[in-house]
Structure formats: structure tokens, C-alpha cells
Amino acid sequence: MKFTLLIQSAPIDSQSSATALRFARALLSKGHEIERLFFYRSGVQSANRLALAPQDETNLPADWQQLISEFELDAVVCIAAAIRRGVVNATETARYGVEGDNLLENAELSGLGQLVAACAASDRVVTFGGGA
């Protein structure tokens, strides 16, 4: 089956980003496909590569980056949600005249249309976080 995962909570505030990551690995290990990972609302913080964790703790953005690279996944971060929360790539820092991009290298900033399109191409859409 083809899945789209929608991640809506920040790694530090909720378990749900970590659960989404484990769910993604479980899907792939069972032979399912991931059409797209879509990071929305505070879930965009999962794509902040400047989030740093103490050495004995999990660094979730780094884990996402590894998963995305390992399986060459399509990872889209909602641009409107991200720029409000200071998750930006070099294009956006140039556009807004600020310094210091922090988006995961293998994630892309784009619009909610990418979520709609991914849902159209998927058999299942699974939401993590949300409701608060």
C-alpha cells in the first residue's frame, strides 16, 4: 500500500513525531511505500537540522534526515507553517533578507497542495499529532 504521513507536532513537545518515524520504518520494513512525508504545523520543527540534543538523547531531525536519505523518501515541509516558525532554507533566507538557514538538506519547502496531491496518490493517509 501507498501511505502519506502527516506530522503535525514538534519533536520536543510531543511523542508523535518519533512515533511517526517508527511507523514509517515499520511500513517500509513490511514492503509498503511512502508516497510522501508532509510536515505541517509545529511538525515543521522535525525538519530543523539546528535542533541539538544531548549526546545520550535522540535527535529526531537527524533521525528523519537519515530515514529520508536511506529510502530516498519525498519529504515536504509546509512553507507557510515553516517560515512562521523559523524553519527556512537558503532560498527563503535570501527572500526575507535574514541569515542562517536550518532546513534538513533532503527536505523541500512547498505548499499544502503537495499534501493534497500526495493524498490523491495514496491508499492511506495517517496523521500524527494534531488536535491541539
Binding site: R84, G113, V116
Partner: protein, 118 residues
């Protein structure tokens, strides 16, 4: 999956949840997908008229809400018991809504391919 039920459960202000639920509903409509909104719990407060959020430095949601019919988002469902427990009636709300009871909620969620809790 081409039909969407967007569920919102939060009050209009206090977090970005209500705005970001509306943005998702509008995006679905913009891409010509069938979309409905379901307001549960404190989300019923989103449709009270005459918000004045500038007093707390927030942008009014009303402009976005009033744009929903322009994008053909005219299916707005509202949880009957959430309304009642807050002492509200549908006639007092800023947009036309369809109240649903708990049995109706189950049927509603079965009627859409993608149910997204924002």
C-alpha cells in the same frame, strides 16, 4: 484519496490550530477536492461572530472564514453536544452549519476518504 474531512478541535485563538485547519481546508478546495469541515469541542467557538482578537495581538479569523463559501467550502459540520455544553445555538454562529449528534459523527467520518485532525 480525494475527499477530505478536516477536523478542528481548538478555540479560534490561543494557538495557530484554527487558522492552520482553515488553511488546509482552503488548500483542498483550491485543488478542486471535495472538502468539509467538522468543528468539535472548543472549535465551536470559532464561529461566534464579532471576534476582537486585536486586543491580544492576534489576527481576526473572520476574513478567512468568510472566504470559505467563495471557495465552495459550504459543508461545515458542528458537534451538537459540543455546542450544547457551551450554551451555544447554531443560529448565533457566523456561517451556516449542520449540527451532528454522536451517531451522525460516525457516519460523517465514514463518508470521507481522508479524515485529518488538525
Amino acid at each position: 484519496m480525494n475527499s477530505f474531512l478536516i477536523i478542528s478541535r481548538c478555540a479560534p485563538y490561543g494557538s495557530a490550530a484554527a487558522r492552520e485547519a482553515l488553511e488546509l481546508a482552503l488548500a483542498c478546495a483550491l485543488f478542486d477536492r471535495e472538502v468539509a469541515i467538522l468543528l468539535l469541542d472548543d472549535a465551536v467557538y470559532q464561529l461566534l461572530p464579532d471576534h476582537n482578537p486585536s486586543a491580544i495581538g492576534q489576527k481576526n479569523l473572520a476574513a478567512m472564514q468568510q472566504s470559505l463559501p467563495l471557495y465552495d467550502v459550504d459543508k461545515i459540520f458542528i458537534c451538537q453536544s459540543s455546542l450544547e455544553t457551551r450554551g451555544l445555538v447554531t443560529e448565533a454562529l457566523a456561517l451556516p452549519v449542520t449540527p451532528v449528534d454522536s451517531q451522525g459523527l460516525k457516519a460523517l467520518m465514514r463518508g470521507y476518504e481522508a479524515v485529518i485532525n488538525v
